[in-house]
């Protein structure tokens, strides 16, 4: 047989087919569940591994960001391949909830979490929490120099001195709390001042790194980036201190990471079991013992002892289902931040 071009092509096509086929089979594993994951990959990976070990149910994780997935789920509608949606913050959950795409969370799961950490209508449940902080350069700022309120950062004296990660869901959740607490006009004015005053980073850890490197004096981020870095090498947070705004300030906002089961899921039982597991003993222990440093929210579940206790944070009261993501992205687009 002589060598021929078509033989070559078919051989190569076969090889490629053989290589792709197992991936496809793997991706469409009928036995397991698909999680749209906007939480930190490592945390969800730890949850999924623990869950699979205990139940034998496989978990396929797709990584993305809160609002990307929320809008994506709305567009996918009944055809969504996702079974479970996990976020870092609650506005994404509120958006999917408002479109009536969640199945009610099992009562037994809801009972594992206190009232303040879940949707009032029982459509989704809190799985972890995070506190807003002002991460500042200890070598440059004394305690007296720190802003009393997050709103102070709109002042001209803060021009060029602080940073944030506006494209991230974390920061957008803070803005949604601000919107809920202070109204549209105040939020618009604050965002406009932010565009003038702040430096912009891609990601909270990058913003913290910039504070540490002396590029800006402070950044509005969530608490656990600092704890995580301290636990590793401290390389990106040596010079950084954390300032908690407290006093029910918008900057003391505690954001709830949520989990929900999609009504369109073909694996309701497995998906509900997953939520039950991560809000239960095993899942919450991952938060206490692991290196995520997010707050545990389960009834009686302890957070990592290194953290400032949740009860000391004096967070403002915000009804999570009221947090409006569409309005926030519109306002931020208007301010030229995204």
């Amino acid at each position: 047989m002589t060598f021929s071009f078509s033989h070559l092509t078919s051989a190569l096509a076969l090889a490629a087919g053989l290589a792709v086929a197992p991936m496809m089979a793997n991706a469409a594993d009928a036995e397991g569940i698909v999680v749209y994951n906007a939480q930190h990959e490592a945390l969800t990976r730890a949850w999924a591994d623990g869950f699979t070990k205990e139940t034998g149910i496989n978990v396929t994780i797709r990584n993305g960001s809160d609002m990307q997935f929320a809008n994506q789920i709305v567009q996918e509608g009944a055809a969504s391949p996702a079974d479970v949606y996990l976020t870092e913050n609650s506005p994404g959950m509120a958006l999917v909830g408002a479109n009536k795409l969640f199945a009610p969370v099992d009562a037994a799961t809801l009972a594992q979490v206190p009232e303040t950490f879940k949707a009032a209508d029982g459509n989704w449940v809190g799985v972890a929490a995070r506190s807003t902080v002002f991460a500042y350069d200890k070598t440059k700022l004394k305690e007296a120099d720190l802003p009393k309120s997050m709103l102070d950062l709109a002042d001209a004296k803060w021009k060029g001195r602080w940073g944030a990660s506006p494209a991230g869901a974390d920061f957008q959740a803070i803005v949604s709390a601000l919107l809920e607490l202070k109204g549209e006009d105040a939020t618009r004015a604050w965002l406009k001042a932010m565009k003038e005053n702040a430096s912009f980073y891609k990601g909270n850890s990058v913003a913290m790194k910039a504070v540490n490197a002396g590029e800006v004096e402070g950044a509005v981020i969530y608490h656990y980036y600092w704890f995580g870095d301290q636990a590793k090498t401290g390389e990106n947070s040596k010079n950084v201190g954390l300032h908690y705004f407290k006093n029910q300030d918008p900057g003391a906002f505690v954001s709830i990471s949520g989990g929900g089961v999609l009504a369109s899921s073909q694996h309701q039982k497995e998906a509900q079991a997953f939520l039950k597991w991560i809000t239960g003993k095993g899942g919450q222990a991952v938060l206490r013992d692991g290196d995520s440093y997010e707050y545990a929210v389960g009834n009686g579940a302890a957070s990592n002892p290194k953290l400032v206790p949740l009860s000391d944070l004096q967070a403002p009261k915000v009804e999570p289902s009221k947090l409006n993501s569409k309005k926030v992205t519109d306002l931020m687009t208007e301010a030229g931040l995204i």
């Binding site: 092509t9 469409a28 850890s205 490197a213 990106n236």
Partner: protein, 517 residues
């Protein structure tokens, strides 16, 4: 080598018709992203379109993008032409080594370049950092064609210029440089388009361009009108760049009269200038290769054996290879009808079809991905988040790459052999398969390899379109660097470079071959 063109015989016409049909299907598919943007623009309504496009943020991005282009491209030209001249036309010691090293940075994906720089100089950001890293990552796209063109030049023209009394510098500017214009224009266009499309490089050094802003919008609001309008402006920038290149290139041509081949040019003696001249290739190699390799080696050393987790690194490697081979094959097969037509049946229709094939490859991955996400989720749900859609994106993005290798090798298969085969009783289809396609097989393989190289390092389309559970080297590397976990990201960067090396080698050898050596 250019072959006499076939004037379509009546018998050939039937054959052409089916090839034209196939090429038209691919051309129509290529129009899908553009059509989508037009449709979404109409669907959004003019008032909102104007509000979304004529706003300050778009102005800022436009300024950033224009500054990036006008700072980077001239620097790339300067660096590439100087290096090419030194390695091809002077007696610089180690010319061959420097020539290899000048092409080698192509094996390092652009976002790995900026990963290296950012972990070395954590404060790096903004325009000048963007220009620096872009020049180092992309200048080989100019170096390869310019070096090949320099090697091919007929020194007789320079001799004539010198005999008319021009000094060496004026010979260079008046006789050599004009002949490099096509190579410089082509390479600059390629770099310009890459600058528009690049995402990872600029995110890491915090420089906002349209591509980064579109991804920000995507992550904040999925396929919002705002993201699609930014995509529209970006497409406009690409088309503008293509137009500028056509204008600058012009249609002057160069010709030699008479038969025979040009003799190879003499290498200019550098004399006392050797010392300073060597500095340029050395500094370039240190910055474009030394920095990535030292940084990678450092992170790999710090990570030790813990970061080489066979399950995650291994599966990302396998998935990347599978996608690269599948995409490479598909793109090359899709490009074959057009490549064949453009060599064997040139004409007005062929030019239009070919333009469709080329334009789609100049669109940034983020625009193509956004269009395919929106179309599949709204209209063809069964294709949503499937390998089919991801592979389609790869095919569209890398069609021009596939065309390059194919065209050259089909052109080298003489049509006379095909005719002889037909005269000996083969059907036209058999003749093409048994003669032309077999002769073109090396070009086919080169095209597959070129596309595979692109897919190995592709980030945005893979992030946005891949099916659940897909993790390629690029996406794994990206998610780890986003958490500033530079240590764990190192094995993925290392594997990408290793996979890209043989392909870069191939490109280098091919550029030598087209120069007739």
């Amino acid at each position: 080598m250019r072959m006499p063109q076939l004037t379509a015989a009546p018998r050939g016409r039937v054959r052409h018709a089916s090839v034209v049909a196939l090429a038209s299907i691919v051309a129509l598919l290529s129009l899908v992203p553009l059509g989508f943007i037009v449709w979404i623009t109409i669907d959004t309504g003019w008032a909102e379109v104007i509000a979304l496009i004529f706003r300050n943020r778009v102005g800022e991005l436009l300024v950033n993008t224009v500054l990036l282009e006008i700072c980077t491209i001239p620097l790339c030209i300067l660096l590439a032409v100087s290096l090419a001249w030194l390695t091809e036309r002077t007696n610089i010691p180690g010319a061959r080594l420097w020539s290899w090293l000048a092409a080698a940075p192509l094996a390092v994906p652009a976002f790995v370049h900026s990963y290296a720089w950012v972990s070395l100089v954590p404060g790096m950001r903004g325009l000048w950092s963007g220009v620096l890293v872009s020049v180092l990552a992309y200048y080989p796209f100019l170096y390869l064609p310019v070096a090949a063109a320099l090697r091919r030049l007929d020194p007789a023209i320079e001799d004539a210029a010198a005999s008319l009394g021009l000094g060496p510098w004026r010979v260079f500017f008046r006789a050599i440089l004009p002949q490099l214009r096509l190579a410089i224009c082509g390479g600059s266009l390629l770099i310009g388009l890459h600058l528009l499309a690049e995402y990872g490089l600029y995110v890491m050094i915090r420089f906002d361009t349209f591509s980064t802003a579109i991804v920000d919008q995507f992550q904040s609001a999925y396929n919002s009108p705002a993201a699609n309008m930014l995509g529209g402006v970006l497409v406009f920038c690409c088309l503008l760049l293509l137009g500028i290149e056509v204008l600058v290139r012009g249609n002057e041509r160069y010709a030699r009269i008479g038969s025979g081949a040009a003799r190879p040019a003499d290498r200019r003696r550098l004399g006392w200038f050797v010392g300073p001249a060597v500095v340029l290739p050395v500094v370039t190699a240190v910055l474009a290769l030394g920095i990535p390799f030292v940084t990678l080696a450092r992170w790999l050393y710090l990570g030790g054996t813990d970061i080489w987790r066979i399950d995650t690194v291994g599966s990302a490697l396998l998935q990347t290879i599978a996608l690269a081979i599948a995409g490479g094959l598909l793109a090359t097969i899709a490009a074959t009808p057009m490549a064949w037509l453009s060599v064997r049946a040139p004409g007005r229709l062929q030019r239009v079809l070919e333009a469709c094939h080329y334009y789609v490859g100049s669109l940034p991955g983020v625009v193509v991905a956004l269009a395919l996400v929106s179309i599949t989720v709204r209209l063809i749900l069964p294709l949503y988040q499937t390998f089919a859609t991801l592979l389609l994106a790869y095919v569209l993005l890398f069609l021009p790459r596939a065309m390059v290798g194919l065209r050259a090798s089909i052109a080298q298969a003489p049509v006379e052999l095909e005719r002889a085969a037909m005269a000996l009783g083969r059907t036209p289809a058999q003749a093409v398969r048994q003669i032309t396609m077999r002769l073109a097989a090396p070009g086919f393989a080169a095209s597959v390899a070129l596309v595979a190289l692109g897919i190995t390092n592709e980030l945005t389309a893979t992030l946005m379109l891949s099916p659940n559970g897909t993790e390629t080297l690029a996406t794994k590397f990206w998610s780890l660097t986003s958490e500033i976990d530079y240590v764990s990201a190192a094995p993925y960067a290392f594997m990408m470079v290793v996979l890209s090396l043989p392909l870069t080698l191939l490109l280098y050898v091919q550029s030598k071959r087209t120069a007739g050596q």
